[in-house]
């Protein structure tokens, strides 16, 4: 076998295709696709799954042409800061263009996941009609949907296995949408409708749950009361993942014991969420499943500390725990001593702007990091922090992959030393070598960004707010952080120079968001001119149109820069302008 001929000819394409089928990571498939002409071709034909991190990075037709046999698609639209109402509501991210193209090019699509996109009822109807084989429809953080669209899905998608509406706002429009699932329809495995505010017809739901014997995940909305939950559980004891509706009712012993028995027959339950407005008297009904739980979301359970402590202490196998700060430091100490397998902790503020002090401090975080050796992911809202605490966390938890600290009041210093929190966050990035996601807060100077730029080699996403002193801060980030993909910044004194000095870096990233910083229109023009593979979008909701005539020193309130091969998009609303590269 001649070495020059390559070994690719040693066996037929189908065998290489079989080899590639064992490559799970997109990155590996991407590498394979540009090894040589032969592999490019094989990989392209056999690619079944693609992930589009930014719906505007590539034209739908181009993606379809490149990968003609895709069955599983995942697309993201709006930037993350849309969750905090920083992105204009009409910014874009409509799913129509993609859905229309996919209906034509990938009619055999089986799974569609959309995140932060605008999905209308028409779009859902179109999906229902166009994709006969669709099995999974997941809409997370989307908007524009009403129950009429859901009715169309229910009526037409005969093979549907998963309908997941996580955090997607759903308007009321068709009260009986659940009834549109035909009698013969029994294939549901996942029904997650927690974000639907309106009532559902619970009898219809019960009947649906009864006939879908493979149902594994059921996440109910608030409207489902406790007594109806009992019936549902009895019909689906095989559930692995349950999201309850409201977990509150007047205390009645017979309801309690029915509820407890209903939980007791759920031997497979691994994940529990919902528990909205929990009443302490009913929490013990959950105890039968606690030991088996790997995921527990109590972020809607406004129950005081002691009741929470009793509950979490029983959850010895929990790996993911979301709670509110009412758990306080004591509660976190209980977590640290009981939940040794904990990997992910999220602590949300129950009353972010309230004056009432809650006894959740930096000590809680340190205790958990000390007691839970497998801790990898943290999201922690609190009101005070010290460098010493962060240094301790860095030392205790070197395996952190995600660290998001949100000190509620901007620019809060170390409350003991009154120094900036630079040392603390520097310790985090230097110790946690696999850190992929970081959100910083508190009082921070440019120095912390020097550490981050230098040490955070695997960091992919960085969120910065109210931090830094000058362009140097942004420059450190962009000139370092080898693996950076997404950078989102608000209210920082970062401006033109750092941006322009690192223009090439932006092409190696998915996107950059900057709002309320010190960027000028002139710099954006320069950037757009130099970097034709970037879309440079400037936004200002106060002014519509007439961007082109503004002077160079016009400040840019919101800037979103992303790499794309699709060129400027054609659907920008009046308050958004894609800065053109041409002069004038």
């Amino acid at each position: 076998m001649a070495a020059g001929a390559g070994w690719a000819s040693m066996f037929p394409d189908e065998v290489w295709e079989h080899v590639f089928s064992f490559l799970a990571a997109d990155g590996d498939r991407n590498a394979v696709s540009i090894v040589c002409r032969g592999w490019y071709s094989i990989e392209r034909r056999s690619r079944r799954r693609i992930f589009v991190g930014n719906c505007y990075a590539v034209a739908p037709a181009a993606a379809i042409h490149r990968f003609p046999n895709v069955r599983v698609v995942s697309i993201k639209g709006k930037p993350h800061f849309a969750d905090f109402n920083l992105v204009p509501s009409d910014w874009g991210g409509r799913a129509d263009a993609w859905v229309t193209a996919m209906a034509e090019g990938w009619p055999h699509l089986e799974e569609l996941s959309l995140k932060r996109m605008v999905v209308t009822d028409d779009c859902l109807e179109f999906i229902a009609r166009s994709f006969k084989n669709i099995r999974v429809l997941a809409l997370s953080f989307c908007e524009g949907v009403s129950t009429a669209g859901l009715a169309a899905i229910a009526a037409n998608c005969r093979n549907l296995r998963e309908l997941d509406l996580r955090e997607t706002g759903v308007e009321e429009n068709c009260v009986h949408w659940l009834s549109h699932f035909p009698e013969s329809f029994t294939s549901l495995v996942n029904l997650s409708i927690a974000s639907i505010e309106e009532d559902v017809n619970i009898s219809v739901l019960e009947h649906l749950v009864s006939r879908c014997t493979n149902l594994m995940t059921l996440k109910l909305n608030y409207a489902v009361p406790l007594d109806r939950l009992v019936n549902l559980l009895r019909r689906a004891p095989q559930l692995a993942s349950l999201g309850t509706g409201k977990f509150t009712a007047e205390y009645r012993p017979e309801l309690f014991s029915k509820l407890e028995s209903a939980f007791a027959i759920c031997k497979s339950m691994k994940s529990l969420s919902g528990i909205c407005e929990a009443v302490p008297e009913y929490l013990p009904a959950i105890y039968p499943v606690c030991d088996g739980l790997t995921s527990l979301n109590l972020s809607y359970a406004l129950v005081d500390g002691p009741a929470l402590i009793k509950l979490v202490s029983r959850c010895k196998n929990v790996q993911r725990l979301w709670v509110m700060d009412v758990i306080e430091d004591d509660g976190l100490a209980a977590v640290a001593s009981s939940c040794k397998l904990l990997q992910e902790l999220r602590v949300f503020p129950c009353d972010p702007y309230g004056a009432d002090p809650v006894s959740l401090t930096e000590h809680g975080l340190v205790t958990v990091s000390a007691g839970c050796p497998m801790l990898q992911s943290v999201l922690y809202f609190c009101r005070q922090m010290t460098n010493a605490a962060l240094i301790a966390v860095a030392r205790n938890s070197p395996n952190l992959t995600c660290f998001r600290l949100c000190i509620i009041e901007p620019r809060t210093p170390d409350y003991v030393t009154l120094e900036p929190l630079d040392a603390g966050f520097s310790a985090i990035v230097e110790s946690c070598k696999d850190l992929r996601r970081l959100s910083v807060s508190g009082l921070l100077t440019d120095n912390v960004f020097r550490s981050i730029g230098a040490a955070a080699n695997h960091l992919e996403m960085l969120s910065v707010a109210f931090a830094g002193d000058s362009d140097a801060g942004l420059h450190y980030i962009l000139s370092g952080c080898k693996s950076l993909r997404k950078l989102e910044i608000r209210d920082c004194p970062f401006g033109d120079k750092a941006l322009l000095a690192n223009a090439a870096k932006l092409e190696t990233m998915r996107s950059l968001w900057m709002s309320s910083c010190s960027v000028s229109l002139g710099a954006c023009r320069l950037l757009a001119r130099k970097m034709p593979w970037l879309n440079v979008e400037v936004m200002d909701e106060r002014r519509g149109g007439s961007w082109a005539s503004q002077p160079d020193d016009c400040p840019v309130e919101k800037l979103y820069v992303y790499r794309t091969v699709a060129g400027p998009r054609s659907d920008t609303p009046p308050c958004v302008w894609t800065v053109q590269g041409a002069i004038g």
């Binding site: 991407n30 590539v58 993606a63 990968f67 440019d446 020097r450 230098a454 690192n502």
Partner: protein
């Protein structure tokens, strides 16, 4: 013979064998139950009755050569024994595939042609593991694959992910041009492309190509050859600024600094030479701000750059870029490993990450 005597006769004598022939003519004799483990051979035996003697040996597909056949038969011999535990089989498999890449590929090929699915899966997984985490270049080396996509494949993988791709592109054109110009101008101290990145500014290259003796400003030479000189030299703002301009995106802030035609040889600067080093994070000695002189320089650079843009620079840029487009050269993207990836309008997969 009595029945009891018959029972004592060694089992081997009662065994049946099949004969298999490779395309090179060589014939192997194999116990029947071992060969039957292979669906293709099994079918041949049952449907055509072939294989029962040397003269009627079963012809094996071309992709099965004698040494690989022996390997496959070892595999079959082990696995066809019914009593083995899963653990035993797994241990055997793990050892079995510890062979060099070439043989592994041959084995995969042969297993596929014999339709021996468990072995195909085993070898395919092993090959996939050899691909995981590798860059395209590494994969090519591992499997001796041709490098036939485009010219850009031949760019050296670079460690600094912040490199400006266009600089490299232009450098390649520049290298060609330089050869020509070398004849004419006898430039001896212009450096040939080194494996390290050449972070010379685009403007310098342009001014050189266009024979501009007079660059924008005759600043001090950047001696980027070795770090040793750097420490000796006074840290004057102009030098810092000129070093800085050669880091990363020289396109943005570069002005024609050096005099290529003169005595100073431009050489690749290192990222470490530039801006961040002066602010090494040392205990108790933290610089809180940019050197004010540097700040000033940054301001001036931005201004200058803007002014230059309003000159004929864009057209020159177009010219250079269109030359490169003829070679279907397009910007490269770094993946997370810090190695190069190419993207073109059809290489969407990298953009969709």
């Amino acid at each position: 013979m009595s029945e009891s005597e018959m029972a004592i006769i060694k089992p081997e004598a009662m065994k049946s064998y099949v004969w298999l022939q490779c395309t090179d003519g060589s014939i192997q004799q194999v116990e029947e139950e071992v060969a039957m483990f292979c669906p293709m051979i099994c079918r041949e035996i049952l449907q055509t009755g072939m294989g029962s003697s040397k003269n009627y040996a079963i012809s094996l597909p071309e992709r099965v050569n004698p040494p690989i056949l022996s390997l496959i038969l070892d595999y079959c011999r082990f696995h066809q024994v019914p009593g083995r535990s899963n653990k035993e089989r797994k241990t055997f498999d793990e050892k079995f595939i510890r062979i060099d890449t070439k043989r592994l590929c041959e084995l995969t090929s042969a297993a596929d042609s014999l339709q021996l699915k468990p072995l195909v899966d085993l070898t395919s997984r092993a090959l996939a593991r050899m691909i995981e985490g590798k860059t395209p270049e590494e994969i090519r080396e591992t499997f001796h694959l041709p490098d036939d996509l485009t010219e850009e494949e031949k760019l050296e993988p670079l460690k600094n992910t912040n490199d400006d791709l266009r600089i490299r592109l232009l450098n390649r054109l520049y290298a060609k041009k330089r050869k020509e110009l070398k004849e004419r101008q006898k430039q001896k101290d212009v450096e040939v492309e080194e494996p390290q990145k050449d972070e010379r500014s685009v403007d310098e290259i342009l001014s050189f190509i266009n024979g501009d003796g007079d660059s924008k400003s005759a600043k001090a030479a950047k001696n980027k050859k070795k770090n040793r000189r750097k420490k000796d030299q006074p840290k004057d703002p102009s030098r810092i600024e000129s070093e800085k301009s050669h880091k990363k995106d020289a396109l943005t802030l570069s002005m024609g600094r050096s005099e290529p035609g003169g005595s100073n040889s431009p050489s690749p600067s290192r990222a470490e030479d530039a801006f961040p080093t002066r602010v090494d994070f040392e205990d108790g000695d933290i610089d809180d701000e940019l050197d004010p002189a540097m700040k000033e320089e940054l301001d001036r650079e931005v201004e200058d750059f803007a002014r230059r843009l309003n000159s004929d620079w864009p057209e020159r840029m177009q010219e250079i870029l269109s030359l490169s487009q003829e070679r279907r050269a397009v910007p490269n993207l770094m993946n997370g490993n810090g190695s190069l990836q190419r993207y073109t309008e059809f290489d969407i997969c990298h953009l969709v990450e």
